[in-house]
Each structure stands twice: as C-alpha cells, then as structure tokens.
C-alpha cells in the first residue's frame, strides 16, 4: 500500500523525499526500471521496424526479436544500477569534499523519488514514437531535462553548500556515470553480437 502512495505523491506536489527505507526505494526502483525498459524496447521496435522495412531481407528484424529478452534484462539491470551508482558517487563527493554526514540511504531515496515523473514522461514518449521520430526525440530530451532538474532540486535541499558547488558536483557525477555505463554496455553488447555472428557463420 505504501508503495502506491509513494508512486502517487509527486503528482500531489511533494518535490523531494529523503525518508524512504532502502527496501522501499529498491522496490520502487525495480518497478520504474521494468516500466522504462518495456517502453524503450517497444519504441525501439516500432522505430527500427519503420526504419529497417526497406532492408528487411537482411534478417535484422528477426535478430532483434531474438535478442529482445536479453535486452530487457540488460536494460532493467542498467536502470537500477544507474541510480545506485549515481547516489554512490554523490555520496562520496559530499562526504569527501563538503564534509557532510548524510547516509547513503537518503541519497538513494532522493534519486529514486526524482525518477518517478520522468518515467511517466517516458511512457508519453512511447506513444509519440508511433507518430514521428522528431517528436520522440524531443520527448526524450524533455525527460532528461526534467530528471536532472528534479535531482538538483532534491539534492540542493540536502547538501548545505554554495549553489555553484552543488551544480558542478551534480554535473561531474552525471558525466562520470555516463562514461561508466556507456563503456560497460558497449563491451556487453559487442560480446553479445559477436557470439551471435559467430553462431551464424
């Protein structure tokens, strides 16, 4: 029951919440990650099938179909780990640089809570992907902007330092996070595709 209340409360005007328990935030994370992974996979499928229909004889569509389940698992693990790693980095920064004593649990709860509205925007993006690619990319851009702003709003209420420092540390954290995840996913996907081609040849 409490999970439903947590999922509803951002739409009732509560901007940030640092009171979630670790278990609750993990469950909320799992729900959000499943929803957004489904949205990503469905929209990619419609976009790619539009794009590829001209060169369907290559059999790319069937390869995508076969890799669907693996991509789903990979995306869910990604979306959960992104939030955990992000809050870990910001935890380290705030403890080392700002000398604040705030527990890891609160950061995870803030980052999880800030992720609820962007996930809803992502579902809207899924609907937009049926119409046009331009609209879809604009919605994805809006989602990222809203995610960054909500995270900033939540963290700046907790980290008591100059606003400029908070802005710089959030930006550095996002960049480090992006580099880590792009590198990891690149190696995983490349090894997946390589093994598939080896079985074909």
């Amino acid at each position: 029951m409490r999970i439903v209340e947590i999922l509803k409360s951002p739409f009732e005007g509560v901007i940030s919440n640092s009171q979630l328990k670790m278990k609750e935030s993990l469950i909320v994370n799992l729900i959000l990650a499943c929803v957004s992974a489904l949205a990503v996979i469905l929209s990619v499928k419609t976009l790619v099938s539009d794009f590829v229909s001209g060169i369907a004889m290559l059999g790319l569509g069937s390869i995508i179909d076969q890799m669907m389940l693996r991509m789903f698992v990979l995306l869910v693990i990604n979306f959960i780990l992104i939030i955990l790693v992000f809050s870990g980095i910001i935890f380290i920064i705030s403890n080392m640089i700002f000398k604040l004593k705030i527990s890891y649990e609160e950061y995870v709860s803030i980052c999880t809570y800030a992720n609820i509205i962007p996930t809803v925007i992502m579902i809207a993006g899924l609907i937009c992907s049926l119409f046009s690619v331009t609209l879809f990319s604009i919605v994805v851009m809006i989602q990222i902007c809203v995610l960054i702003i909500l995270t900033y709003e939540g963290l700046s209420s907790m980290i008591m330092a100059g606003k400029g420092k908070v802005i710089y540390s959030i930006a550095i954290t996002y960049v480090i996070n992006a580099i880590l995840f792009v590198a990891a996913n690149y190696y995983i996907i490349e090894s997946m595709i390589e093994s598939r081609f080896r079985s074909i040849l």
Binding site: C145, I149, I167, I170, A171, Y174, V175
Partner: protein, 216 residues
Amino acid sequence: MNNCFYCGKELTEEGDFCGNCGLIKFYDQEGAGKRLLKQFKYLFTNPVAFIRTSKLVNPIFTGATAIIIILIQLIIIKGMGRKLHLNFEALDTILAILGITVVEAAFMWIIVNGIFKKKVNFMSFLNLTLSIQLISIIINIIGAILGVAITPYLYTIVSTFGAIVSLLLMYQGIKDFVQADLFVYLITIVGSFSGTALVISIVLKSLMRNALRSIF
C-alpha cells in the same frame, strides 16, 4: 542601513551586491567599462550570482557578452577545429548560437509573460541566456584545449559537462527571476527547449529541401 533600493533587503557581499535580486549598486562616477568589469568579476567567483546580475537591463552588457561569445567560438572553430574533427563553418556556427539564444529567450518571455502573467523584461531573458552561453563556452574552450593536447574525446566529455551545468544554471536563473512554484519553472524550461528544437528542425528541413533541390 545599507539596503537594496530594488527589493529592500540588506546588501551583502562587499556592500555592492544584493544576494536576493542580483542588483549591483553602481556609483555615479563609474564609467561603462568599470561597471562591466564589476559585473564580470562575479563570473569566476560565483556563477549563480553572475546569473542573477543578468536581470539588470544593460545593453552594454548584452553587446559585450555577445562579442566575447563570438570571439571565443571563432578561436575554437578556426584555431582548433581541424584537430577536434569539427566540420563546421565558423559563420554558420556563430549564427546558429546567436539564433538559438534569441529564440530561446523569446520563448521564455512569451511563456512567462503570456501564460503565467509575470512582468519580466525581454532583455533580462536575453541577458540570462547570453550569460549562460558565456559560461558554457568558457567551459568549452577549456575542453578544446584539453582535447587538442590529449585526445578529442575529452572535448566531448567536457562539453557534455558544460551542457548539464548550463541547464542547471538556467533553472536556477528562472527560479530567481520568476519566483513561483516548481511547475512554472519546469513548464518554462521545457517549453522553451522544445519550442527551440521545433523551430530549428523546421529551419533545417527547409534548408535541406533547398539543398536537395539544388543537387537534383
């Protein structure tokens, strides 16, 4: 005793700068150049305060910021563009940056004044977007120097960092200018971004159509 004549709060930070509304107290004997220097001093010491000072309507500041942006962009494109694999013409890039700035400021002004009925001058939004571009382009030139010295990937990484910083600074600036609730800020930022993206895509499409027509 030393109060800001604009919002009435007590002046902080060396007695010349109001931390609440971002007003700088200029003295009558100071010329235009000295006022500019006073305003640009906050760019390095406190970027959020610098964003706040851009609420002042000051055409000299607008012109000076635009000229500095153009010069730094020219240095990046002409001096280091080949090593960073940037295939842009300098004139196109400068026109694009200035056009994006003006369109974004116009969208923000329309949304804030038309929909939410707050009285904020158009020039202050123009100054806001220009000063944010200035900060992000200073971060960019640091990234370009690193990219030439070490590897071009560093330029991409540092410019991503600059983009996130400029997004957060824009949020903070709108928060200071408009003073409403979170919904208003989000709608303003999202509306101006998506409006700008739509305008750019329409312009690009018409340009591409002309280019295709000239090819065939």
